[in-house]
Symmetry: D2
Subunit: 115 residues, 4 copies
């Protein structure tokens, strides 16, 4: 059951990690890099927690509720930072981060209720 419960969230975490890490390396090639410092930093933070959350869900960690809540917080902070920039790769992160945050909160609530 948990496998079905988590699958959409795992997929959203992967999409978010892909968008964030793609934007991270793209930012590091930008001429305007100096204005993208915080964005580089947050995108990499976001990719890291998405990876951690995915692994936690696939192993049905007893701490999934808390890990996914933390992931949602970091995704939202990253979406906010990305919305301050005009680069396409930054803008592409926003939706992936918000979708991931939404599904992480859903998983977190559901797991808490079911526990």
């Amino acid at each position: 059951m948990t496998r079905i419960l988590y699958q959409d969230c795992i997929d959203a975490c992967l999409k978010c990690m892909e968008a964030c890490n793609y934007s991270y390396v793209s930012n590091l090639k930008e001429y305007e890099l100096a204005r993208l410092r915080d964005c580089v930093l947050l995108e990499r933070e976001c990719a890291d927690i998405c990876g951690f959350a995915m692994e936690a869900m696939t192993r049905q960690s007893p701490f999934v509720a808390d890990i996914c809540r933390l992931c949602a917080d970091i995704c939202e902070a990253t979406a906010e930072e990305c919305s301050r920039h005009e680069q396409t790769h930054c803008l592409d992160c926003i939706e992936s981060c918000r979708r991931c945050a939404e599904l992480c909160r859903e998983v977190s609530s559901l797991v808490t209720v079911l526990a």
Copy 2:
């Protein structure tokens, strides 16, 4: 271009991580756990390197060739260990591990040639 190049391998790493971590927690619930020690250990090793390889590919790491070769080696060792058991979740790992190993070797060769 690299995004397209890596996508199938990233997806195979996720499938392998899912199969291995599912089998890891399933093994820990098995009555026959004592015979599954090495399998528990290898499946978790495999899930870990798959996660690491996925993150490396999504950030276009300059070390993708070596990381994916290592991932392929660990996937193959895990497939071999899983083939010694009869539990469905172990058997389900075999194909995921082998497919992941195959695509990791492809990425590793391609990246080496392109470098």
Copy 3:
């Protein structure tokens, strides 16, 4: 300043990761493995979040407060599980986990106050 602030906690996370992972592999060799299922699982969870927290502190992550609070929760749950067993390696985890939890809570509070 943050480097000094975090150093004790980073060291405690390493000690905790070492104790937990040592007990994890030791448990997997135990004759009584069947009674140690939850312990295997929690020790590995604990080692994972300790590694994640260490990396977050060394890169002065803006999310250190939340990551360390989560690490403290997982350390405490692991200490409780370990205290149900009599194996030396399990008992050795208890103090490492509690010390790590304590320092993680300190860092978490301090970072929240300073923010």
Copy 4:
């Protein structure tokens, strides 16, 4: 025995992770950031593999030899990149990276011989 064998290398990995991640965040604050792009990227790669190697050694992973060899390669590439810059935090990485590479190769050779 393995615990003693690995301890110096684990400590060197931690020092290297600390130096690299400190330089990573310091680079992201530098006025000259545009000239430090590759350094930002490599230092973060290096911190990541050091974390992975530490966890592998603490759990006596059967793949320690290969993981430590990969870690040594990445440490050496990072040391080389850091030596192209004059920032103190970059220069501080060089020795940590080289020391870590050295001990990772030692562990890798020893484990291969003992296997």
